[in-house]
Symmetry: C2
Subunit: 334 residues, 2 copies
DNA sequence: ACATTAAAGTAAAACGTTTTACTAATTCAA
DNA sequence: TTGAATTAGTAAAACGTTTTACTTTAATGT
């Protein structure tokens, strides 16, 4: 069954297409369409269940009311929660979200940007990876609203919203040291993104500030795309062979792998062994004992992202870039 | 900066728009365009970075290469994992996904369907709720490929993919009984969807099969949209006031709330108190002791969904409906 | 009574593609 | 050598909107 077009409505109402269009878009008054005609047309639209074809509308107006969201992986709870919040807030303003996961592949990220571009999304929200700076710059140069979150790209000149990773990490390590820990390990990933680097820098700086020598063998950089079993093996080696009394995991999925190792080798968290995970996860609260975590302020991040995007969308001129850095909270459990 | 159109390419190459279009769509040979022209045009396209405007393309061809995915909540790990798998597989076939969460609101679900309709998505993948049967039927009548998953709507006549909730639930209760449990509680939700009802039926049937009397006061139906704190309170009341020696939680988030209660009232899982959660979650594996769960075969569900959708998309005629029921696995931990 | 202005509405172009039906030039068969 | 078939390509319509510039009629001011 072919769906109705504005023409069908016009014919039924015995008015022109233009008139119907004006009514649909609330310009009837301003374009001096009589109350009687407005009523008649509205009634017909109502009864027939006509919905304007957004594709045609987009083609004509040049905007799609769609915001593209590019993230690393929607199945990661950090991103799925952010996505949900962003979707929610965008929805209320009449925008839809198309999301896609890059899986940390530069290739896929570029493809996604192209895809969004050819779909004429109105704005881009991107948790970027190194290697797509040029593509993002092109978007910006073409006048598209672009906002980065979670990870920044220092040489891309646009707004950014994210947590204060350096301080969160520094604080975490400081709390270990305050507990008297000396051999503090860091389990992180090898992807070269700012937020991960900052966590690493925070770790180093905190050691330095406390006069503890940095020991490279206590830093484990896990390859991003590898199987979890391999990750578990590597963490196991670290914990068994080094005398480590505290570990900071730089992402929640690494912490989960780490906890699996602890369970396996039956190493208990307690007075002589402490753990902090970056990014909260339900598993951490339930764990016995509770796992301390660095909580990113999801709600605030989402809010700022959407606020900035909407602001840019409703402004004719390019608004000034903003860097919103939100403190993360260290939650000490048990 | 205006983006390039096919016309710009045509002008640059000094050929007609038609020719460029044929080349872009791989119909050059068939339409007898010379090798030389093909090369020239391809080169120009390459150099200029031209990408066809998908909106215009969609308007003309009537399809968008977008599949709409309607789920309950993207931040629930069951859905976010399924979404990721579906996205992945769809992407490989050149389809994009637009998802949106209904939050179990009939209103929002209807709105989403309308939105997708006006966006002319090529197909619908829906984890439905009661109350939108008519809307879905209309989609089907209009010739749209529609596939339901996770939850079925008995009186909607279309394909469905989901786990065998009745048997999974039955099996779980049977395993409690085999362990000698007598006072088995069920914590479930009050949303009236088939998959939840089936879990309830499986519970009842298993009790009956074993000659255990059904006790309504052991079934706790949690209101869907309430605050977690209230849920926790209700579960707490159940566990403290009834002598219960086993609990089946009908969803993973209920189980998580339940575990929080256990931690709070310091009730241990062990020989005299057992728990099974429906839908796995990382927290369950890590929990001490491990929480037994009913694992839904995510990969298989996603695979079947996408297979059916693609089959329907590539077929001119309506293919026969299929009901794919996949067994769930009961994972006994510790 | 006449020119202006306002009211009520419409025709047609434009957005960027795809596709159908066509043309012109060349090759081929008999 | 002529008509048919092939090769190489193009003009223009169509998809369903929005929007600009226009027309026609009625009301108003002087």
């Amino acid at each position: 069954m072919k769906s109705l077009s504005i023409k069908d409505i016009a014919v039924k109402a015995n008015v022109s297409i233009t008139t119907v269009s004006f009514i649909i878009n609330g310009k009837a008054k301003e374009k001096s369409i009589s109350e009687a005609v407005i009523e008649k047309v509205k009634k017909i639209i109502e009864e027939s269940g006509y919905k304007p074809n957004q594709i045609a509308r987009s083609l004509r107006t040049g905007n799609s009311n769609i915001i593209g969201l590019i993230i690393e992986d929607i199945s990661n709870s950090f991103f799925s929660r952010i996505a949900r919040l962003i979707e929610d807030k965008a929805y209320k303003k009449g925008y839809k979200i198309i999301y896609s996961s890059t899986e940390n592949s530069v290739e896929k990220a570029k493809e996604l940007i192209n895809m969004f571009k050819s779909r004429k999304v109105d704005a881009y929200i991107i948790s970027p990876i190194k290697g797509i700076e040029e593509d993002i710059k092109m978007l910006i140069d073409d006048g598209n609203p672009v906002i980065l979150f979670d990870r920044n790209l220092p040489d891309v000149n646009t707004s950014y919203v994210g947590a204060d990773h350096f301080n969160a990490s520094h604080q975490s390590i400081q709390s270990f040291i305050d507990q008297g820990k000396k051999n503090i390990a860091l389990v992180t990933t090898d992807i070269n993104v700012e937020q991960i680097v900052e966590r690493y820098e925070g770790y180093k700086k905190a050691l330095e500030d406390n006069g503890i020598k940095y020991d490279e063998s206590l830093v484990l950089k896990i390859h991003f795309n590898q199987e979890e079993s391999e990750t578990i093996e590597q963490i196991k080696v670290l914990l068994e062979n080094k005398k480590v009394d505290a570990v900071l995991f730089a992402t929640n999925y690494l912490a989960i792998s780490g906890l699996k190792v602890l369970k396996k080798i039956n190493k208990k968290i307690g007075d002589d062994f402490a753990v902090i995970a970056y990014d909260d996860h339900e598993a951490f609260e339930l764990h016995t004992p509770g796992i301390s975590t660095v909580q990113q302020p999801l709600e605030e991040i989402a809010e700022n992202v959407i606020k900035l995007i909407l602001k840019q969308l409703s402004s004719k001129t390019k608004i000034e870039n903003q860097q919103v850095i939100i403190p993360a909270r260290l939650i000490i459990r048990d």
